[in-house]
């Protein structure tokens, strides 16, 4: 009976061989295009890294710290139920090495004691702060100032169901020309602001700058600063360490080099406040609000025909707590996929429109291939191509080429980004850690990558179902090595 069924399937596939080989070739070509872009990113990232390297230049940062000329910046810290980490996080932010900054913490209707612990720790009192409602957000219940830290303000507001609404409320009260949203579960390195502000000082047309995000899990944190950089011992954060190196050091550097940076991470990005307000601030109707802000800025500048620049700088680092369980990681990846689709479809009118320059002609079509078609094509390929090969519709060379594109090329890209990291930045603490990451670069392509693809497909499904849940993420606090849960 089974033999008969197999024969029928084989006959069917052979009868429609033209269609199925066409489908297989489409999947392969899609993979090939993605991989060619990745391969081109490597030299572009290397050139960009060399051109703007601040890696060995401690003197310029030091001189800037001593000077009166640094551009003032507002640090926006949205907080929802962060009573465990918020005081330590704010202390860490207040100790940043930068001459002129203000910190605006937004208590986004927390159900725990986030506001109370802030009031107690920083001697807060209600104040008036002149403002205009620049962007839409939920009502503000009160503004607090600190009698100890004159540059610290806390905004207490009604919950707006997301980071975007809280960030918008902070924007309403921000006074400085630049702002940076800092996640309450992240730590900025002491010199991160000094280094990331440099592009704004070099180029008056600079409107946004992105920094690097690295995985905090495993590191030893003392007094709000990473004291000892270590790799996570838990598998999921470990694999994310490599993913972050690859995404930031290769992909974003390359897009920055080509002038088509379309993503600046919400965990560490610096933006021109005036322009961000002009485009309506962060959109509350998407979970990819950081991605969308960048696209909105591109759109605005190109529609107004104003020259502008955006850049990614690799040296300033924001350490973030990565999901350390299968469930939390899955939730994050589904949310990222949903966010990418929401933003893409919201701005699909920019696609292939010369009016939107390189963004419309190259960057967004690339995002279409990677975010929209990519997960679907890869999933279909994993299922169908082995069947076609087993039934003789495709030959061995085809399945080898497919495996090369969707498994082995990933090894090349991940290993190459480690090479780039080691040649220029050397932020991986030890040779042993580099070897471990090299092992991860191979392993991740066999199992993890496919799992990631499944999460992305679920993200696609959630997008179609208009599910806009943020997902669960528990915090453990910073004052210890992060892998205590291992």
């Amino acid at each position: 009976m089974e033999g008969v069924f197999a024969q029928e399937v084989s006959d069917f596939l052979h009868a429609h061989a033209g269609f199925f080989t066409g489908l297989s070739w489409s999947i392969l070509i899609l993979g090939l295009i993605q991989n060619i872009v990745y391969a081109l990113q490597l030299p572009a990232a290397f050139i960009e890294l060399r051109r703007h390297s601040q890696a060995e230049d401690t003197e310029s940062a030091w001189q800037l710290l001593l000077s009166d000329v640094a551009i003032p910046i507002s640090l926006l810290v949205p907080a929802y139920n962060e009573e465990q980490t918020i005081v330590e996080n704010v202390r860490s932010i207040l100790s940043l090495k930068y001459p002129d900054f203000e910190v605006l913490v937004v208590n986004d209707g927390s159900k725990d004691k986030t506001l109370d612990v802030l009031i107690e720790a920083f001697s807060l009192r209600p104040i008036t702060r002149a403002h205009k409602l620049w962007v839409r957000h939920q009502p503000v219940k009160g503004v607090y100032g600190s009698s100890v830290y004159p540059n610290l303000f806390v905004i207490d507001k009604v919950n707006g169901k997301g980071k975007a609404d809280a960030s918008n409320a902070a924007l309403t009260f921000a006074r400085h020309p630049l702002f940076c949203v800092v996640d309450a579960d992240s730590l900025l390195e002491g010199e991160a602001l000094l280094r990331s502000l440099r592009p704004f000082m070099e180029d008056a047309k600079m409107i946004a700058v992105g920094g690097t995000i690295r995985v905090l899990n495993g590191c030893v944190v003392k007094s709000g600063q990473v004291e000892d950089v270590r790799l996570p011992r838990n598998f999921y954060p470990l694999i994310q360490s490599l993913e972050y190196i690859r995404a930031f050091l290769m992909s974003r550097l390359a897009w920055s080099h080509w002038g088509m940076l379309s993503i600046i991470s919400g965990a560490f990005g610096i933006f021109n406040r005036g322009l961000s307000v002009d485009v309506g601030g962060f959109s509350a109707d998407t979970v990819g609000e950081d991605y969308e802000l960048v696209i909105k800025l591109h759109r605005k500048m190109m529609e107004d025909k104003r020259p502008y620049s955006m850049r990614y700088v690799p040296e300033p680092v924001c350490w973030t707590e990565a999901p350390d369980s299968f469930k939390m990681l899955g939730n994050q990846r589904k949310r990222w996929q949903r966010g990418a689709l929401e933003v893409f479809f919201k701005h699909k009118d920019m696609l292939f429109r010369p009016r939107y320059g390189k963004m419309g002609m190259f960057a967004l079509p690339h995002n279409f291939i990677v975010d929209v078609l990519g997960p679907l094509a890869e999933a279909v390929g994993y299922i169908l191509i082995p069947i076609f090969w087993m039934t003789g519709v495709l030959n061995t060379d085809f399945i080898l080429a497919f495996m090369a594109m969707f498994f082995l090329f990933g090894v090349f890209i991940s290993v190459s980004s480690l090479v780039l990291e080691e040649m220029e930045l050397r932020r991986v603490p030890h040779a042993r850690d580099l070897a471990i990451l090299a092992g991860v670069a191979v392993i991740e392509n066999f199992g993890y990558r496919q799992m990631n693809n499944i999460w992305r497909i679920i993200g696609w499904w959630q997008y179609l179902r208009k599910n806009n849940q943020w997902g669960e993420m528990t915090r453990t606090g910073f004052s210890h090595a992060k892998d205590k849960k291992d």
Partner: protein
Amino acid sequence: MSPLVENSDVVLQMIWQSTIVLALASVAVLFLLIVCRYHSEWRKRHKDRLREELSRYFYAAISSPDSVRESSLPAVKRRNMDVVCSIALDMLRAVKGGDSDRILALLDVWQIQGYLLQALEKGRRGEKIQSLTLLSLFGGEENLRVLLKHAESDDTYVQLAALRGIATQYDTGHVETVVEILSRTESTNRLMLADILRHFGEEAALPLARLARNAEQIDVRVSALMALGMIHPLSAVSAILPLLQDANEDVRAQTAKALGEMGDIRTGAALARALTDNSVGVRVQAAQALGRLRDEGALSALAERLGDENWWVGFRAAEALVRIGDKGISLLRSLSGRQDAVGVMSMQVLAEMAEA
């Protein structure tokens, strides 16, 4: 087998074979880098020990009443001179006067200047910047020539390090040369350049005003104006006043700011006119400048701007009225009863200032 696939076998083979080669090559390169890293970790441990030893020696040497002698110096191989430079730079950032001279004397006995010149030729950006910083501290005509040569570097940060050395360690006699170099510079970090130019001090006021008027690059002009604002020499007021009408809005805004910092009350009328400039940035800077001047003659002009279409202009105008003093505050109070944007702005700023 499909004929389509059969004809494409060569392409398919190329794809999988080249991918295997790329993957293997990248793994091989990374393997080499890992081996190098093992080796460099051993060297780093050695350098860390050396750094510890040398730091102790430096501290002992600067606190010792005896002068430094070559015979008492710990032996440092040329390849480890970077450690000496790095310690010296760290210490020089923290000490002044006699201690700083002793550190330089110590470096001189080590004959570090030869090493620094070599690092300038062959080193990477960070080493060049470090070398220029240290060379400038030694002073002397020979080092000045090196600094002036690197002041023409295409690398912005190498150029800035050389300029900083000239501005902070040499007298102002070279400002004309620096202005000449900068008038040709193609790109810069405008804020860091301003911070460097201010070190030339009041004597550089007129050359800087000339740079602000004539440099090719807007960034350089803006830097010169910022530096003038920080130096605030009254002698440059008349030279930069016409720049309030410059075609470039950054230049106009920075001129307004600089005039505010210079504090010459006679510029009040020109700044009050700048409150109606087309550019928001210029209007904001003009309002702040009038606040700094505490010019009571600008009360009505500032009050008019409270209802500016741009909120920041209104806010800075209100702040300026508060800074001007009793008359400004009274004016704000009288406006705070209005039911429009001017009233709201006046009320908010008065409340904020009262709590502050």
